[in-house]
């Protein structure tokens, strides 16, 4: 889309005028589940699955309806939400190829995870409530991708954050879970604040947050404003998608039940950041510096995730850092602009399948191994849980990009596109992406080999690891099929053309790379990674943590000091500010009073008797404030 | 006697004259009187009765209540004066009278409340 072209949304008619049902059905189900209480305990999980399934079926119907339309972007205004002066926001929905794609991912993969959770949460007395939160999560995510203005997206955005908070801290008796939930919520708030400020910038400069108005008006704005908007949106996206520097919450979010991890990491939540940047493509297209920063964040995070992933021994944490790194690929892609937006979304979809499959597989392993998560305590499991082995194996091959599985079709074009950027940037980002592919191959091989092959290194209490029940196996199989087939189907099914109305082009910017050579190189890198890992770990590993020999390993085990970074950058100033404020509120004022009392001839006894909370120091504060206000007014007037 | 502070000059002179007169009277007194103190002369004079106890006596709390009731009603009654100046004018008449009646009635309500709560009984 060139900037001169107008973004236009037709109003919805016919079947699509009921598109709001997509959000309403899971929301209503969540309300029923949460409000009805114990009465719904027996059938709550069925309702939860049914509602998301219904949304999926509806989503398919709308999808095919949209395919048949000439103008592939329909908007639906439901009712006036809030109006202040000339600012007006409607509850409105935008249904276009991008949202349609996300709807299918969220409801489709979401449905499978719901079904899986029926089995996984069977023993949990709060299963009904869990499904209530799950539905809430899904409906918030649907609102996020279906809103027709940044404000609608933001409401979904906050809803997702809230639901994730509830779900991550599900195991309330574990302090780690509580802390993790809190951390997720708070770090998301940092991103949310940036998003809010970006929205207010839109308001201030364009008078609206409607996608149509903003995208049509953004070309006329000064570059500084556009850049600020882009960077703030990026910061918001980083918060939700776990990108540097706000990545630390995402691995901690593993404290929730495994279906939650799968839902957060594959179908919802983390993809929100990618969605936001892809959706705001006119803003990012208008500022090449902003795009470069997105690319840089993506490239840096993908390496960061890989490096930490290599050093972790907890199966879910390895997968979590793998998510961080894969989302980095997506950021890299959407930052490149043009046709690469579609590549990012393509990778997102493919990732949705194989990552959900991997998480469900991990959950299945834990289910069979009495909630053990330590990779060093697995080994040789392929004999005991063949279905899990096969599904995780397919997901593993997909994520490292072995042809013809989906990762190959989605990741390699991103690496190509990064090189195609040209100049030193092309080299830096391209090599980062290539190196990331090799590292991914390494740590995923390590995970797979340590879990399913080699000797048994189980703890003593485990006698018979068992395969999971059918209700858990079925989603895993379906997701494995998706991991295998999604990439090729999407690429040859014209996915990039389907998204063309949103991004305006299918052309990846830059020069055309030598496809065959690129594929050869990246496959070679991947195979080297696999080989090294296989050689190192085929005999298993030591059962205790080895002393870190190099600073890199030590740093990687410390999550590359992500937490330290966050503490220094976000918490420390806050703490200092708080202390300073408390000091001035209490001690400072008292100090002044003490001094004043001494000046006006107070005795030492008077000084000693001063304590906080006195009327006089309050009066002094008020007087001081009064004097400053008068002086300031004078200064403004006379100065 | 004109200029910036002119109109205050009279006031100033009056003050000065007052201070001078006062000072002169006391100075004269001091110069002329004999000065022979003894303990009996230095005790506090209480109408001829021998002084007993300390100089800090606690006042009955009730004095405060009564004094306070008096002050309130007395102060409220200042509104009667401006009213008295205008109520007889043409155009004011009955309305003004009724309004003042309401005002007094509200005051009376307060008094009534005080009475019912037993504030006015002295035992």
């Amino acid at each position: 889309m060139t900037l001169a072209e107008q973004v236009q949304y037709q109003s919805a008619t016919g079947a699509l005028s009921s598109v709001w049902l997509l959000i309403a059905i899971p929301l209503a189900s969540a309300a029923v589940l949460l409000l009805l209480g114990r009465k719904a305990d027996r059938w709550g999980h069925i309702l939860g699955c049914a509602s998301i399934g219904a949304s999926f079926v509806l989503g398919l119907w709308y999808f095919f309806t949209l395919r048949g339309l000439g103008h592939k972007a329909v908007s639906l205004d439901l009712f006036n939400f809030i109006q202040v002066g000339r600012f007006k926001v409607d509850w409105g929905i935008l249904y276009d190829p991008l949202s349609a794609t996300f709807v299918l991912l969220i409801t489709g993969v979401g449905f499978l995870i719901h079904v899986y959770a029926v089995g996984y949460m069977k023993e949990d007395p709060g299963r009904r409530r869990f499904f209530g939160y799950f539905n809430l999560f899904a409906s918030a995510m649907l609102l996020l991708v279906l809103g027709n203005s940044f404000l609608m997206t933001f409401i979904g955005w906050e809803g997702v954050g809230l639901a994730s908070y509830l779900l991550i801290s599900w195991y309330q008796d574990r302090p780690a879970a509580a802390t993790a939930g809190k951390k997720a919520f708070l770090m998301n708030r940092v991103g949310d604040a940036a998003f809010l400020v970006a929205m207010f910038l839109m308001f201030a400069n364009l008078g609206s947050t409607d996608f149509a108005t903003v995208f049509n008006g953004v070309g006329a704005l000064p570059h500084g404003v556009t850049l600020a908007m882009a960077l703030l949106l990026l910061a918001g996206a980083c918060g939700k998608s776990g990108q540097f520097p706000l990545q630390a919450w995402l691995p901690d979010a593993m404290e929730g039940p495994t279906p939650v991890s799968a839902l957060i990491h594959a179908a919802t939540m983390v993809t929100a950041g990618v969605y936001l940047i892809a959706r705001s493509n006119p803003i990012f297209d208008a500022t090449s510096l902003g795009q470069t920063i997105v690319v840089a964040v993506g490239a840096f995070t993908l390496l960061l995730g890989c490096v930490i992933g290599c050093a972790k021994d907890d199966i879910k944490r390895v997968l979590a850092y793998s998510t961080v790194s894969q989302i980095g690929y997506m950021f890299l892609a959407v930052g490149l602009g043009g046709g690469a937006y579609a590549l990012g979304i393509l990778h997102l979809l493919a990732h949705g399948f194989f990552k959900a499959g991997l998480f469900l597989g991990a959950g299945s392993v834990m289910h069979g191994m009495k909630d053990q998560t330590d990779l060093r305590r697995f080994g040789g499991l392929w004999r005991y849980m063949p279905v899990t082995w096969a599904t995780v194996g397919l997901g593993y091959l997909a994520i490292i990009g072995i042809p013809p599985l989906s990762g190959f079709f989605s990741k390699d074009p991103i690496i190509d596109a990064a090189f195609a950027r040209g100049g030193w940037q092309g080299w830096v980002f391209g090599l980062a992406a290539l190196l990331g592919a090799g590292l991914t191959a390494f740590y995923m091989t390590r995970l797979f080999v340590l879990t399913f092959h080699g000797k048994k290194r189980w703890t003593d209490d485990i006698e018979h690891p068992h395969e999971s029940p059918g209700v858990m196996k079925l989603p895993m199989i379906l997701l494995a099929v998706g991991s295998v087939a999604a990439g090729g189907l999407l690429v040859y099914g014209g996915f990039t053309t389907w998204l063309e109305p949103v991004f305006g082009t299918t052309e990846v910017p830059g020069h055309e790379p030598n496809r065959a050579m690129m594929i050869g190189i990246s496959l070679a890198v991947v195979l080297v990674g696999v080989a090294i890992a296989w050689l190192l770990f085929r005999r298993g590993t030591a059962l205790v943590e080895q002393p870190a020999r190099s600073p890199i390993v030590r740093a990687a085990r410390e999550n590359l000091y992500g937490d330290v970074f966050n503490e220094t950058v976000f918490e420390l100033p806050g703490k200092l500010l708080t202390r300073a404020a408390v000091f001035f509120d209490g001690k400072g004022i008292d100090g002044i009073v003490t001094g004043l009392a001494a000046i006006v001839g107070g005795s030492s006894s008077r000084l000693r008797r001063l304590q906080t909370g006195f009327v006089r120091s309050y009066a002094l504060t008020i007087l001081g404030g009064a004097l400053v206000v008068v002086a300031a007014l004078m200064a403004v007037k006379l100065g | 006697m004109s200029g910036y502070l002119g109109s205050y000059a009279t006031l100033g002179i009056l003050l000065v004259v007052g201070v001078v007169l006062f000072g002169a009277a006391f100075a004269g007194n001091r110069l002329l009187r004999p000065h022979r103190p003894d303990p009996g002369k230095l005790t506090t004079y209480e109408s001829g009765v021998d002084p007993v106890g300390g100089d800090w006596a606690q006042a009955e709390i009730r004095y405060y209540v009564f004094a306070y009731l008096y002050v309130l009603f007395a102060v409220e009654s200042v509104f009667l004066f401006p009213w008295a100046l205008v109520f007889a004018r043409p155009g004011f008449g009955t309305t003004t009278l009724v309004e003042m009646a309401v005002f007094v009635a509200v005051l009376l309500l307060g008094l009534l409340y005080a009475w019912r709560k037993g504030v006015l009984r002295w035992t």
Binding site: A581, I622, L633 | T95
Partner: protein
């Protein structure tokens, strides 16, 4: 006869219909005093509750009638231009009464604490044998009802006062009962009376500043009517010095009541010490009244000089938002936490006020109502968490409440989310409204600070939620009282309105929009 007096003093015409709501409230308060004086003890409570609620409902009905019969569109001045009956005035009066009714429900509750939250005989020395006796046995005194009616009437007078003197009288009329109400707690009477002493002394101190400002402005403009001040401000040839000192002094008196930094110092102590239903009344109704006065003064009397004072008040707004939020983080007492949060919220309203546009008025009005309902419900919930010696307000005592009382914890979490500005609660729509109005008025800096402080403010709220859900309750954890019908009603109203205005804010925003025109 005095020649000056002979000048044209005419009998001011009083449109009794237009000021009927105020008269109803104050008249019924007098009825309440009579009932207190003459009814036997057992009858007083039901009669007082009835009188109180009837007065407020009747007042509200009258206000709605006035609003429907075109007073909002065709505003009038009455009583010698001393009172303005216009859109914002009626809206604010209505807001005071609506919030007042809910607060009255909390005040009238007698089943949570046996006999009610107020002391039976204020004159009995705290801690004595007789005091313990009355705390156990005797029902609350009922003077609280006429006192609250006087306070509410004063607030209504305050928001529709059209000259500074009327405003000062109204300020005292609503402040004096509040000082007394602060001192009436049944438990922790020492704390309560301290709060009253502090509130009184500082309130009197600040109202002295207020009236000093009035005198300055009178000297400047030769009149205390807002309109005359506005005219004098644009006429050249007068020294602005008096006007700006006067404005500053006025602002101090008003910002004190609104609890803006640095005039907020009393708030935490008083909110903590006062009986919780009274705190709820102060946090909701007093805030509405204070900002009603601020709106009218800024938008009617000082509109044309806004370029000079807006930066100064803007700095106060920033300080209020930031310091309120930061200090809220460090609090360990739920009532103090809510107090600091109410300080920060005053900053948000101030941000809306400073838009100095029509949106500024409507969004501030909207925010005041949304905040009022949420804070009423929050304080209502605080009354339910109890120890042997009254409310357990220390945060550590709230640990694990989510398990003991899931409904209470759920509602409280919802209210906290609203305070934190999460969408689909009125906290979000309110903040959204004031911030976008401020942006429209060019106050970008304020908005950025506002957003940042609201993010910061989410921390303490979240801490409470975490405490309630994620920590083990202590062995001697406080009990959660079963709310009586009145408290339940108040809680339900507060929570439902918080949700309703979060999902469908245009119900109220439209009303606020159509009301947002001051009469000059």
């Amino acid at each position: 006869m005095n020649p000056v007096l002979a000048a044209d003093i005419t009998l001011p015409h009083i449109n009794y219909g237009a000021i009927a709501p105020i008269l109803i409230l104050l008249g019924m308060a007098c009825v309440g005093v009579l009932a207190e004086a003459f009814l036997p003890r057992t009858l007083r409570y039901p009669v007082q509750v009835l009188v109180s609620l009837v007065a407020q409902v009747a007042g509200l009905a009258t206000i709605i009638g006035l609003a429907l019969s075109n007073y909002a569109k065709k505003p009038t001045l009455t009583a010698g231009d001393a009172l303005a009956v216009d859109g914002p005035g009626l809206f604010l009066q209505g807001a005071v009464l609506v919030l007042g009714i809910v607060a009255t429900l909390l005040i009238a509750e007698r089943s949570v604490e046996r006999g009610g939250a107020f002391v039976a005989q204020a004159a009995v020395t705290a801690g004595s044998e007789a005091d313990a006796e009355q705390a156990r046995r005797q029902p609350s005194q009922t003077e609280i009802f006429p006192l609250s009616l006087f306070a509410l009437g004063g607030m209504m007078l305050f928001v529709s006062a059209n000259d500074l003197l009327t405003m000062f009288v109204a300020l005292e009329v609503f402040s004096l009962p509040l000082y007394l109400m602060c001192a009436l707690a049944r438990r922790r009477r020492l704390l309560s009376q301290e709060a009253a002493v502090k509130y009184f002394l500082l309130g009197a101190f600040s109202s002295a500043f207020f009236v000093y400002g009035i005198a300055m402005l009178y000297g400047f403009a030769g009149s205390v009517k807002f309109h005359d001040i506005a005219v004098a401000a644009i006429s050249s040839g007068k020294s602005d010095l008096l006007m700006f000192i006067g404005l500053a002094m006025l602002a101090i008196g008003l910002l004190f009541k609104a609890a803006a930094v640095p005039f907020h110092v009393w708030t935490p102590d008083v909110y903590q010490g006062a009986p919780t239903p009274v705190t709820a009344l102060m946090a909701s109704c007093t805030k509405v009244a204070a900002f009603g006065g601020i709106l009218r003064i800024f938008y009617v009397a000082f509109l044309d000089s806004r370029w000079d004072w807006r930066p100064v008040i803007g700095v106060i707004a920033v300080l209020t938002m930031v310091i309120g939020a930061i200090l809220a983080v460090t609090q360990t007492d739920i009532k103090r936490l809510l107090a600091y949060s109410s300080i920060a919220n005053a900053g948000y309203v101030l941000t809306g006020v400073l838009a100095m546009q029509k949106d500024g008025i409507s969004s501030s009005l909207f925010y005041l109502v949304t905040y009022g309902f949420t804070v009423l419900a929050a304080f209502g919930l605080v009354t339910l968490v109890r120890d042997q010696d009254g409310e357990a307000t220390h945060l550590s005592r709230w640990a694990g409440l989510g398990r003991k009382a899931p409904v209470l914890a759920g509602v409280f979490t919802f209210l906290m989310l609203s305070f934190a500005g999460i969408p689909l609660t009125s906290g979000f729509t309110g903040k959204f409204a004031v911030f976008s109005a401020a942006l429209g008025g060019g106050q970008t800096t304020l908005v950025i600070f506002g957003v940042l402080s609201s993010v910061l403010l989410a921390f303490p709220y979240l801490r409470v939620v975490v405490l309630m859900y994620l920590q083990e309750p202590a062995a001697d954890a406080p009990t959660v009282a079963v709310p009586g019908a009145l408290t339940s009603a108040a809680l339900a109203i507060g929570a439902i309105v918080t949700l309703l205005l979060g999902v469908w804010p245009s119900v109220l925003l439209d009303v606020a929009n159509s009301a947002a025109q001051f009469v000059g």
